[in-house]
Amino acid sequence: MADAVQSLADRVRAAADAGMRLCLRGGGTKDFYGGALEGEPLDTRAHAGVVRYDPTELVITARCGTPLAQLEATLDENGQMLAFEPPHFARDGRAATLGGCVAAGLSGPRRAAAGALRDFVLGAVLLDGRARVLRFGGEVMKNVAGYDVARLLAGSLGTLGVLLEVSLKVLPRPVEELSLRLELTQDAAIAQLNAWGGQPLPISASAWCDGLLHLRLSGAAAAVRAARSVIGGEALAGDVATAFWRSVREQTHAFFASEAPLWRLAVPSTTPLLALSAAPFIEWGGALRWVPTRPGDPIPREAAARAGGHATLFRAQDKSAGAFAPLDAVSMRLHRGLKAALDPSGIFNRGRIYPDL
């Protein structure tokens, strides 16, 4: 593996010397996410494999090119999982890698209950823009030595360097899971999800679409049983439930079939029904709302901001509106400063988050 790091470092050094831009890329499953790809591709997949995994430590350390599916299979064999349930978006023979997963920073249905990807990042090894190999964080649950640069890298879309290795906290799979289906209007679903959220119920995922609310309960068998009697609804067969939540996570659900631009609105979970051009698909107890737009529709960035949230243009042919909501001037200055600190020549994934980053 030293060879793979050496070859990545050589490419980075050469690019920095030549002022050439690089496009860091694993399986390419998140090519659609963020701004347009720019620069010479730098494939990270040769640097692969699990470095350390002792299930009783609840930590896995793996190289960036490790296929996400392989990593999850390893955890599964030991009754464990990535609790943030990351989407793979594996399509057309492309397979997600760990590096891409962490760089994208996207979490799946379990996020509202278990936490986001960034919550599980314990450490990272970074190849920065000067081709230096840097270790931040570590492989222990609690670590406050130095700034939390490892967590900063989660969701940085490869703009700060090549994530060579990542250490993630892992959790045991729930003892029991049960999914329920209820008929509810959008208003009622949002209110109900927030009311349930304030009670000690083991809701591990929620999805509302077209008058139907799906809930997943995860936990001790007794807790799942008790919650079911509180919530009611119709139980789904195990395999149907598994397929349903996979379709939500991977956006293969019928809602996402349209080619129309897809917006991802992150809002406070209690935000009432938003005035949008189409009915949304709602996840995370109300905090995540997916909305397609048709030509001529107003972009939902204003609506999200008014609600105290932000809107990302998630999938679209035309991203001239900007993939991510703009930042205030001070935050943008800090972003440019951090970018310059780790990538002084500006070679990594330019324009992937903001045009001048």
């Binding site: 299930p55 009783t56 430590e57 009754g79 464990q80 920073g105 979490s107 996020r111 936490g115 919550d119 840097l134 270790r135 931040f136 570590g138 222990v140 649950m141 609690k142 670590n143 406050v144 030595a145 130095g146 700034y147 939390d148 640069v149 967590r151 900063l152 989660a154 969701g155 045991p172 799979r173 927030n194 009311a195 959220g197 304030g198 009670q199 000690p200 936990g219 001790a220 068998a221 007794a222 807790a223 406070p268 209690t270 905090a287 999200a304 105290g308 949230g309 932000h310 990302t312 909501a325 930042l327 001070v330 935050s331 800090l334 400063g337 951090l338 310059a340 600190a341 780790l342 988050i353």
Partner: protein, 496 residues
Amino acid sequence: MGANERNSVIDPRRQQAVAAALRAFLPPQSVLYDAEDTQPYECDGLTAYRRVPMVVALPETEEQVRRVLQTCHAMDVPVVPRGAGTGLSGGALPLADGVLLSMAKFMRVLRVDPAARLAVVQPGVRNAAISDVVAPLGLYYAPDPSSQIACSIGGNVAENSGGVHCLKYGLTVHNVLGIRGYTIEGEPIAFGSEAPDAPGYDLLALAIGSEGLLAVVTEVTVKLLPKPQFARVVMASFDDVEKAGAAVAAVIAEGIIPAGLEMMDQPATRAVEAFVHADYDVDAAAILLAESDGTPEEVEEEIARIKSVLERAGATRMTVSRDEAERLRFWSGRKAAFPAMGRISPDYYCMDGTIPRRRLGEVLRFIAGLEKKYGLRCPNVFHAGDGNLHPLILFDANDPNELERTEQFAAEVLEKCVEVGGTITGEHGVGIEKIDQMCVQFHPDELEVFHAVKRVFDSKGLLNPGKAVPTLHRCAEFGRMHVHHGQLKHPELPRF
């Protein structure tokens, strides 16, 4: 441990000038500079280090905070932010040429939103006060450092504080949704939000645990959780410390994440039992406390599983709390471990290393060896679930020789933590105390990145300078190199 790199003498003319500049917009009682007024601020919870600040500023509005920072920035005066002053690493140790910025007057809970399960609070609000305020709503704030009755949420943000329940519920960084505040230049910042996944870099994560070096926080939005209906704790005895360590691994291997999982060795339980009478088994080599919370049904199910694992792991005695009073009594011993040490020794020195749990036996044997080497006792309390060790070296600070031996003892323990793949600090922060051990944990290139991050936020280096991240020069003088997995990185490179 940190020696004093800076001038410790206050320049009276500078003091007058800075005080006058602050009094231009702060009321007289909010600007302290007479020694008798500034003395109470000379140290935080790490009392071995003391220094009287040049000036203490006690603003009470955000606008005043902004102007204090702008004024100090314009006059090139360093600023040390301070919350409740309970920190254990000297992070709020004042500077003789600096302003101590106390956030103690920021005591208000600004907003509680029960439906969204969040509270917006000022940084001086005490950790436990948040849970008290929202208790009638059936909610609570999860991180519970042992000092929770006194420590403030602003300090918790600075240190990324943990507690005894963080294996299951996370640290401060997992339970804070957003912060607002100012840079040293007085520019407003807002990181994170009530909506998930704020766009751009995760500046919230960077700011949390930055020990007051990047920004001053004036408002914190915390996540509230539904209070578990019910909790019970199993107290298990072991005749061997390593068996207790193996039992912890066995619980995790069984797929159980207890709400709390703590270990204490016999010297610790004996000191505690004499102090609080928590019904600890003082004949055991170690005891484990494993807590389960949730619905009554859930707790019964999990407690049964925990008991069965602990029994197989060789527990010699097990008691399950019968009611809430007994549960709190079992925990009272653990929470009183530090003050209990104060009763059996003139002074104690608390360490905070975190290690991979599988190396526990090795590290405890190493510590036992150091007890002999330095002739000092060292009971251990341990956040076993997340590998965070708190060995407590007992010493007498009036004996300079004992203090020096204690510091060497502590340094060896922390360096051992790094050697086994852990860290020098799990939750107390680096502050001034562990600044030299940072040179062991990090390579100069990594320290250089930390300094670069600092410059992005604070180009003049005025916010809490000299804490948390050592200069490369200091590391060179300290003379110990960063070693990772027994190998020097880039052995071909010249050093400093």
